[in-house]
Point group: C3
């Protein structure tokens, strides 16, 4: 992919956001993308190739928002970006003038996403890639959003686990606002499996070494961590596991 991008746009600066998304894990990739894109310069082209549907009839789309451009399969990976709103425009990527001449059936990242990104980086307009698409019609992941249970608990899940063993949930700052704010600052209870953590810490250091804590992490989402340890090991936790938050 990088060779293709640099062939199209030799002046491109290429950054890998991550190579640690598990195969086919669209949900985790979606949150990673939302957490990172705004730290890049305007006009950055963000290319997401978590693409288990490669070779099937799934569309590829290009989306413009707040000066950033996203190129991705229409498989739900843009869900958190779409939820932020303020979408400028979306097109279906379908103009083969911007693809490699020979397309494989298994790696459109190299054959379509990369050359398209190179052309966008050089200044090609979104409209040249294909026809406009209504952002409302893009596929969305329904599992991506935490909800309030009938018992008044905020129910989310573990979306990804980083290399430190921190458990990153889909419970964002805006979700926490839904809870009783005054209580939250004192002693909300976070439940993971049979364990309970009381209160949200403001730094890893606020609890003793090897002690678990909850914290709003640098991505803007609630994380379960262990100070100088691994929450993944401590809780034997896995992606998809439910997290319940109550006051």
């Amino acid at each position: 992919m990088k060779g293709v991008i640099l062939t199209v746009d030799p002046s491109a600066t290429i950054v890998d956001i991550t190579h640690h998304i598990d195969p086919q894990d669209i949900l985790s990739a979606a949150y990673m993308l939302r957490a990172s894109y705004r730290f890049f310069p305007k006009k950055t082209v963000h290319v997401s190739v978590v693409d288990p549907g490669v070779g099937s009839k799934r569309d590829i789309v290009a989306l413009k928002k707040s000066g950033h451009i996203f190129v991705a399969p229409d498989n739900g990976i843009l869900t958190p970006i779409l939820e932020e709103g303020q979408i400028d425009s979306v097109v279906t990527v379908e103009n083969p003038d911007f693809f490699l001449d020979i397309l494989s059936q298994t790696f459109h990242g190299r054959d379509i996403f990369a050359p398209v990104a190179g052309h966008l980086s050089r200044g090609v307009a979104l409209g040249e890639l294909g026809s406009r698409k209504d952002p409302q019609r893009l596929k969305r992941l329904t599992t991506a959003t935490p909800y309030l249970s009938s018992r008044g608990e905020l129910v989310g899940m573990i979306i990804s686990i980083d290399r430190f063993g921190n458990l990153i949930t889909n419970i964002g700052a805006a979700d926490l606002e839904r809870m009783n704010r005054r209580q939250l600052e004192t002693l909300p209870t976070i439940r993971i499996a049979e364990y309970t953590i009381r209160g949200i810490s403001s730094s890893y250091q606020h609890v003793p070494h090897q002690t678990p804590l909850a914290i709003v992490g640098s991505r803007g989402y609630l994380e379960i961590a262990v100070n100088c340890g691994s929450a993944k090991d401590y809780f034997k936790a896995q992606k998809g596991e439910v997290i319940r938050l109550s006051c």
Copy 2:
């Protein structure tokens, strides 16, 4: 290595092709190199440092072909490149003017390959690095080529396993041509250990989820895959394992 390259040529753009070659696995590196180089811009310098012979008497060579330059130990890693033919020239890298001043015995990647690549990137001619060498005299890996058995089977092997668990073989498109082409399009049989796969699919999606398939992958070689799963786990497969293809 990157620090050294940028010291010699501050304008160089550096791309990592892979850091997932197993230690000393020259064969896997050789196929990776052949699969990727042509997607890079002309004049790219491709540096391969899978170099178990570092510190011994093995040569280092620089090779020019189709506008690309390769710098590698003469240990067989260039075998698939050599098999493509159309070699412009090869030299032995021996002029210490282009090396670091102090050479370690364990990391010529940093001390020789990197500064030589930086100088080539700046435009130094191949001939300045050392004396010409006959491409026919470069070391070749004999295990690299599939063959037709006496029973008419095309016999290859698993060369590498990617992070999705796909099993990449050394059976290329040209090898498949050796088979009866008409039959191939209908129902060739691919055998791996005691398993049998019938037919070559044109996309992962052509079989149900978690079902194995054979496909010509994006590198141009026959791969054994499992749709949205891991063929490595499914077949408990290992590198070096034999793959048999018959009609």
Copy 3:
């Protein structure tokens, strides 16, 4: 971090030295930094974010030495750099004009180190970041230095294990000078657990395949290796394990 650096200095060239430091392993990071910095061009900004104290009161410092700039937490990671001497100047990084507007409590790498590095790369002077600090007052790791035992053994430890399974110690060339040099060139004895290696080899190839050896590696430190094998597996070795060298 890379997005932030490029936002501040779009012309920056960014290189990852390593992503294979174990979480919180300041000691291993410290040696990696010392081993690599001098191979980068002068004026390089070296950013080290092994930062278990993030969110606590630890300082962040910027240090200038031999034309290189280092940005790091004051947690001992600069110990081997400080031991080399020739420090030009050190400042405490405290001027929020060079930070992101909103600081997280868990990822100062992105919010402070990265924008500061971007500004340094653009030419901002060290003195603009904060007040001067006496290099003698920077935190140092006491475990970092090998010592001569009462029995005349040079006692060091395994600092890191690379992906080939080589065991990299903290015993450097200067430490070996402390030993009886003439004897060293003949037959020093290296002890690791209950094993003994006799003599220091000058290349991996000087012993048979799968045989252990001691060698001064490319980082300038004594390493225990196995020719075309893994010393980590051979010795079941772990970081922190003691290495004893006698004549």
